[in-house]
Symmetry: D2
Subunit: 423 residues, 4 copies
C-alpha cells in the first residue's frame, strides 16, 4: 500500500542491551582516549540512533531497597556508546550535533535516582548528611515521571545525555592527565578524592583490540567523571532533546561518544547519582563546520537549547550565601564560596520540603532529579556569592506556596533505603 | 467629573532626589544597623512608593568618558532608602513584600554600567584584564534599554532592586561582624580585600540622631556589599517588578530598606558595577505572616518570580569548567571551582562576542548588563564544576548564530573609556 | 552634580487630562479622516510620550454602582490623541512604531471594565443575558490589577492601546464608507446595528478648524468602532508595551492617532467595554521603511509581540463548537460559526467560574479583562468550528483545578450593579 | 541482572498496522455510535498504548506527486482506534485522560500535509485558490520535522491526536443527527456540503458484529468530520503529549476512541488535511471523577495544556478583519465574519511568505502545519472581527523580519504537485 513505500526507519548505528552488564557488551567504553577506534561511521546529515545502557551498566534494580546503590562498583562507570566517526571531520573543525531525541527503551520504562554512601560515591551533602544509600525509582509515563518513593510530584522530563563528547587528541589527553595529576598530588589524602586519575582496574573498551593498544588505553585513558574541553560529563540538563550542540573536533572523524542518559535532572545534580538515570536511545544528526574552532573561538562546546524543554514558569525560589549557616556558621570568601552558597540554597529548600512532609532523603533526591533551576545571582559582592534555586510549582500535586496558616504537612512515606534500615 | 472622584495616587513614603549627592539628602543610609530609626511607617496592604538614588549617590554622569568611574568614592555606597517600618511586624514573622514596580525617574531616563579600576572596586575580571575604568551609558526607552556605547543590542529590562532587606537584630549584626572579621583577619593583606568590615569614614544616616547613637551605628554598622540572611545586596535579577519576596523579620517593624536599583542585569553581575545602575522609584505593598520564620523554615528570603520578566527563549549557551584555560591552565578542585568555571564560561562568551566585532570591554559590560542566564550545570563531578552562561539571541539586532562561513565581524566602536585613553 | 548633566526627560508631544471631559480638551478627535491636521510632528528615532484620556472621555467613576455605564453616551467615543505626523513618511511607506511603554497616570491608578445595557452598547452576550449595566473597578498596583468587585484574582497587565492607527487616505475612507454603508443598508433595522456609519452628532476634533473643514470631517469621518486596514480599534491585547508594529502609510506624515488604552484585556474583549479601560501615557518611537507596503505585501498592520507580556503558562482550557447548546441548540454552519463556537467556549468558562463562586456578571467581566487566550482550533471541520478559551491559573489566589471532590464554592460577593438593583 | 527485574513495558491495548488499508484491519472504526462494542478495557491508573493508522488509512505515499491526494476516498475517513472502555466509568462521570505521549511509528518516520482538490475535500481556500491537489512530505527527526517540499524551515512538533472522544449516548447521537440534518436540509445544494450526515457507504467497524447491529451502526452512526460535545475531531493542537483532558462520559465504560494523529499543526489547520498527518502510537492513562459533568458544569471537554509544547516566543503576527479585501472587497458583519477575518490574516501571511520565496501552495501548507498561533483579537467591534495569526520566527532557517532593504527572496522550489502538472 501507499504508506509502506519509502518508509525507512532511521538506522541504529550502536546497539546496546540495557539488561546486560556493560562489560559483557560490545560497543561500549568507559575511558577517554584518542586511540579507541570508531565502531561506526556516519555521514553528515544522516539521522541515526544510538542505544545506551544506564551509566552503571545494569547494576541497579527496580526494587524497594537501596542495597544495590550501597554496593555499586564505581570503577567501571560511565559506560559510553561509541566512538562514532563522522565522515570528513578533522581537528579544528566544529562538529554540529543535533540531539534530536532522547528516550528510554520501551522495555525499560523506569529509571532511578540515588544517594551514595559517604564512602562509596559521595554526593554534594555526603559529609553533611553522613550519607547512607537511598534510592527512588521513577516510572516513565510518556513525557512524565512519577515515583512511588516520592509521592505527590509528577514532572515532564528534560531528557538529555549527561555525558557526550568528542575524543581528545593525544596532546589534550596529556594536558588533562598532567593538570589533574597535579591536583591529586596536592591533595593526596583527600576523602573523597579531589579527582580521579587514569585507572586500569575497571577500564573497558568493548572491542577486539591488540593487547598493547588496550593496555595503553587503559593506562592513559582519562576517567569520565568530570566535564572537560570536549564536553564529557557536563550534566547540563538543557543539552536536551531538541538542542543543537557545537563541539570542537580534536581527532580525525571527531569520534563522538555518548552515555549516562538522564530522563530528568535538576541544575547541579546534587546527589551525584542525582538525575533520573536511565538506559535508552538517542537520535542524532550531525554536520561539520570547517575550521569552526577558530571561527567561533571555541574552547569548550557551545549549544542552543531546545524549544521543547518543559516550561514551568511559576517557581518558589530559595537563596543561599557563602556562609555555612546550616553547619558551623563559617564565613567563606568569594573564590571558594559559590559551592557553599549553592549548598545553603539547597538546604533551605530541603528544610522547606520537610515542612510539607518529605523526608530529608526524599527532598534531596527530588531536588536532584526534578527540573530545578539554579542561577548564580551575585558573584562579585565579597565575601558572599548569592545563588538561587528555583523549585517549579507545577510539579507538585498540592499547592506548596507559603500560606498565613503555615504549610500543611502531608504523609509521603520514605524513599527506598537499605534493607538493614540504616539511614 | 466622573473620573476625578476617588482618584488618589499611591503615596510616596520616601522621597529622594537623583541629582543631589546622597550625603546631602535625608532618608538615606548606607550601613545596616538595628538602631537606625524607621523614617516612615506603612500599614500592611498599603501600596506605596519609595524613591531611590543610584547606588553611588549621583557620582556618575551621562557622558562619554569613564573618569567618574575611575575616581569613584566607594566608601559611601550603597545609598539606601529607609528604613520603613511595617505596622505589626515582629521578630520571627515573615514580611511579605510585593515588588509591584521598579522604574526610573521620568527626568532621568538613563543609567550606566561600569568596569572599575583594578585598584578601586575591581570586578570579576579585574586581575585577568588589569581593569581600567570603562563605562556604557544606557538610554531607557520604555521597557527597553539601548546604549550608544554598545550598539547593536536592545533589550527589555528585568528591573529590580539590587539591594533590599530587613534590618538585622543586634545579635545577627554581631554574628556578621564576628564571622566576617575572622575572614578579614585570616586574609589580612588580600588585594582586593576578601570582605569589608565596619568603617566609620563614609558611613551615613540621613537623619537627625543623637551623637552617641550615630557614632554607634557608624562604628558597628555592617557594610552593604554582600547579601546576607536578611536579603541585602543579593543582586538577584529575578527579584524584579512583579515578584513577591518573603523576608525574615529580625526587629520590631521589620525596617525594610531598599536601593541600588537596576534597570537590567545578567546573572552574576560580572563587572561589579555590572547592572544597568539607575535611580528610580519602587512601588511596594506588604503583608505579614505571623511566625513565618518557623513556619517556612526560613534562613534567608525566599521569593516568587514575576510573570512579566522578559522572555527570550532562544539562547546561545557557553560552558565553562574549573580549569583556568584562559589563563595559566591551572586545574582547580570542586569546592573552589564554580567561580573558575563561571569565569571560563564568561570568557568564552566574550571571545565569541569579539568575533562579531565587540571590544573586550564592550563584551564584558554587555554580559554584565543584559539578561544573561547563568546556570550551575554539574557541581558533583570532581574536579570540574560545569557552569553555563546563556546569551539571549533576541537582544541582538543581527543574527549572531554560528554559520558555516563563520561570524560576520561588524564595527561597533568602543565603550566610554578614560579621557587619558588608558585601557 | 554628575547625574543631572544631560538628564533630559522624553518629551510629551500630546497632553491630555484624564479628569476633563474629552470634548473640552484640545488634541483629541473621534473620527478618522485624512483632513484632520496633525497636532504634532516627530522625527524618526525620537522617543516621545502621548497622553490619552480613557475611551469614554471621563464618563466613568471610581464608585460602586454601574449607573454611569448604563447612562453612557456612546456617540462621542473613542477619544483619540493625535494625529501625530512623522517627518518623511509618505503614502506607500511602512511606519514602524515601537510601543515602548503604556502606563496609567500616577494620579489615576485605576480603571474599569463594564457590561453595557442591551439597548446601549451591547456586548457579546447582550442578547443572551439581556444585559443590564454592571461594572468592576480595578486598582493598579504596579504591574498588577486587583478589583474589589471581583475578589480572588490578581494579574499582571498586558497593557496596550486598544486603538491605534494611521490616517486613511481620502480614497481609503471612501472605500470604508461605501462598503459599510452597503452592509448597513442590507440590515437596515438590525438591533444592535451591524455597523456604524458617519454621524455628525458626537463627532469631535479638538482643534481650531475652518467651519467647512470641520463640517466635512464630521460628515464623512469614519467611526472608530471597528479595526480596519490602517489598524484602528483592533483590540489586540498583544500589541502591548514592548511590541513593534508596522503600519501602512496612506497620507503624508502618516498621521498616527492612539487611544482607548487598556491595562489588560482577554482575547476577544467579550463585554465590549471588556478590557480594563484606563487613561494613561504611551511612549513611542518610530521609523520609516520607504515603500514598505509593497516590500512586505501589507494590507493591514503586522507586528512583533513584546518579550515582557505576562507569562502564565498553566491554563485551564475550555472548548466551544458551532452549536448554540447554551441556547436553543441550533446547529450553525462553518462560515457563520466561529462566533457561535467562541460564545460556547466562553459560556462553558462562565459556568465553571460560577461553580467556584463568581456571579455570571463577575465571570463575564473577568473573562473580558484578564489575560485570557482564545485560539481558533479547527476551522475546516464542517459544520463545527472549534474554538478554545484558556483561563490562566496563575491569576487566581485559589486552586481552581478540577478535583475529585468537585469545586469549592467561595463567596465573592457581586460586582458593581445599578443603583436600582436591576440585573 | 539487576535492571531486567521488574522491567515491564507498557501494554499496547490496541494494535494497528500503518501500512495496511484500514478496512482490512481489526480494532478500527469510522463512525460514532453508542452500540460499537469496546475492543479493550483498561483500569483507571493503568498506562497503555494505542496504535493508530493515519487518518486516511494508508492511502498516501511518501513520494513526490500529489496524485494520491487528488484521488483520495474521503467516505471512509477518519479511521479511529477503539473504543476502549474504562472500568467504572458511567454516564455523568468525567473521564480524565492523560495524553502521555504521541509519537510516530519507528518504521514510518514521516507524515504529510495536503491540499485537497476543490471538488474532493476542499479546505479553507478551496474556492479562492480553485485548489488542485498538492502535498508536502515531512521527515520526522526526533522532535523535529523538515520537508524536502518546503525547504528552509524546521520545527518541533506539538504532537497530538486530531481526533479523540468518548462515545455518544443514543440520545446525544439522535440530537446530533437531528440538528445536523436540519442544517443539511436547509442548504441542500451547497458545494462543498455544509455538513455530512450518516452514510452507509464507507462506514466501517473492524469487529465481528451481528449483521443487524452493523447495519444499525452504519445507518445511524455520526460522521467523524466535526468536533462535538464529546470531543471528536477538534483538531486542537494543544491537546498534545503531556496534556490532561477531561471528557464527559455518556455511556457505560466511556468508550474512548482516538485517531487522526498529527505530528504538528497550526491553529485552524487551514488546508483541512493541514496538519502533519501521521500514523503512530498514543500513550494514555485515565482516571474517573464520579459525577464530574455536574461538578464542573461540563458541556464539552476541558483540558490542561502540556508543559512541553514547543516554545517559540518570537513571532511575526499578521492581522485580518471581516472584509474580503483579498477578494471582492465585501464587508461582512460580525456574526459571519470571524472566518472572513481569519482568512485575511492567513492571506496576508501567505503574501508575505511569497515575498521571501515560497509558492502560494508552500505557504498554504506551511501555515497549516507549523505551530502557528491564531488568536481572536476583537469580536465585539462591529462590523469587523480582528483575528491574528502569529508565525513563529524560530522555525525559519533565515531571518524573515522586515528590513529596510525589503525581504530577500530565496529559491525554495515547489511542493509536490499533480503528475499532470495542473496547479
Amino acid at each position: 500500500m501507499a504508506t509502506i513505500a519509502n518508509s525507512v526507519a532511521h538506522p541504529t548505528v550502536v546497539s546496546a542491551d540495557p539488561f546486560v552488564p556493560a562489560r559483557e557488551q560490545k560497543n561500549l567504553h568507559n575511558r577517554w582516549h584518542p586511540d579507541i577506534p570508531a565502531i561506526a561511521t556516519v555521514k553528515p546529515g544522516q539521522v541515526f540512533n544510538v542505544e545506551c545502557v544506564d551509566w552503571t551498566g545494569a547494576q541497579i534494580g527496580n526494587n524497594d531497597t537501596s542495597d544495590d546503590i550501597r554496593d555499586i562498583d564505581l570503577t567501571s562507570v560511565h559506560n559510553l556508546s561509541g566512538p562514532i566517526a563522522v565522515e570528513g571531520a578533522e581537528p579544528g573543525d566544529c562538529l554540529v550535533v543535533d540531539i534530536l531525541d532522547v528516550r528510554p527503551f520501551d522495555k525499560m520504562p523506569w529509571g532511578y535516582t540515588g544517594i551514595f554512601e559517604l564512602e562509596n560515591g559521595g554526593g554534594l551533602f555526603a559529609r553533611e548528611f553522613q550519607s547512607r544509600a537511598a534510592k527512588a525509582i521513577w516510572d516513565f509515563k510518556g513525557v512524565y515521571a512519577t515515583s512511588r518513593h516520592i509521592p505527590g510530584v509528577r514532572f515532564a522530563g528534560v531528557s538529555h545525555p549527561g555525558l557526550i563528547g568528542t575524543a581528545p587528541s593525544a596532546e589534550l589527553l596529556a594536558t588533562w592527565n598532567k593538570r589533574e595529576g597535579a591536583l591529586i598530588e596536592a591533595h593526596a589524602n583527600a576523602v573523597p578524592p579531589v579527582a580521579y586519575g587514569p585507572l586500569v582496574p575497571g577500564a573497558y573498551v568493548g572491542q577486539d583490540l591488540p593487547n598493547d593498544l588496550r593496555a595503553k588505553i587503559y593506562r592513559e585513558g582519562a576517567r569520565t567523571i568530570p566535564g572537560r574541553e570536549h564536553g564529557g560529563n557536563c550534566d547540563i540538563k538543557n543539552l536536551s532533546r531538541g538542542s543543537r550542540c557545537y563541539f570542537p573536533v580534536f581527532v580525525k572523524g571527531a569520534n563522538l561518544s555518548v552515555g549516562d542518559l538522564h530522563f530528568s535532572q535538576g541544575d547541579g545534580e546534587l546527589s551525584f547519582c542525582g538525575a533520573i538515570e536511565m538506559a535508552g536511545i538517542v537520535t542524532f544528526s550531525t554536520s561539520i563546520i570547517k575550521g569552526g574552532v577558530e571561527k567561533f573561538a571555541m574552547r569548550q562546546p557551545i549549544f542552543l537549547p531546545s524549544p521543547v524543554d518543559p516550561l514551568y514558569s511559576a517557581k518558589l525560589i530559595f537563596q543561599g550565601i557563602s556562609v555555612d549557616y546550616h553547619g558551623d556558621g563559617t564565613q567563606y570568601n568569594m573564590d571558594a564560596s559559590v559551592t557553599v552558597a549553592y549548598k545553603q540554597a539547597a538546604l533551605n529548600a530541603i528544610a522547606y520540603l520537610m515542612k510539607i512532609g518529605y523526608t530529608r532523603e526524599q527532598a534531596y533526591l527530588l531536588l536532584s532529579a526534578a527540573p530545578v533551576e539554579s542561577h548564580i545571582g551575585a558573584i562579585v559582592d565579597s565575601p558572599n556569592a548569592c545563588v538561587t534555586l528555583g523549585l517549579p510549582l507545577g510539579i507538585f500535586e498540592h499547592d506548596i506556596l507559603p500560606k498565613d496558616e503555615g504549610l500543611k504537612k502531608l504523609e509521603f512515606g520514605q524513599c527506598a533505603v537499605r534493607s538493614d534500615g540504616v539511614l
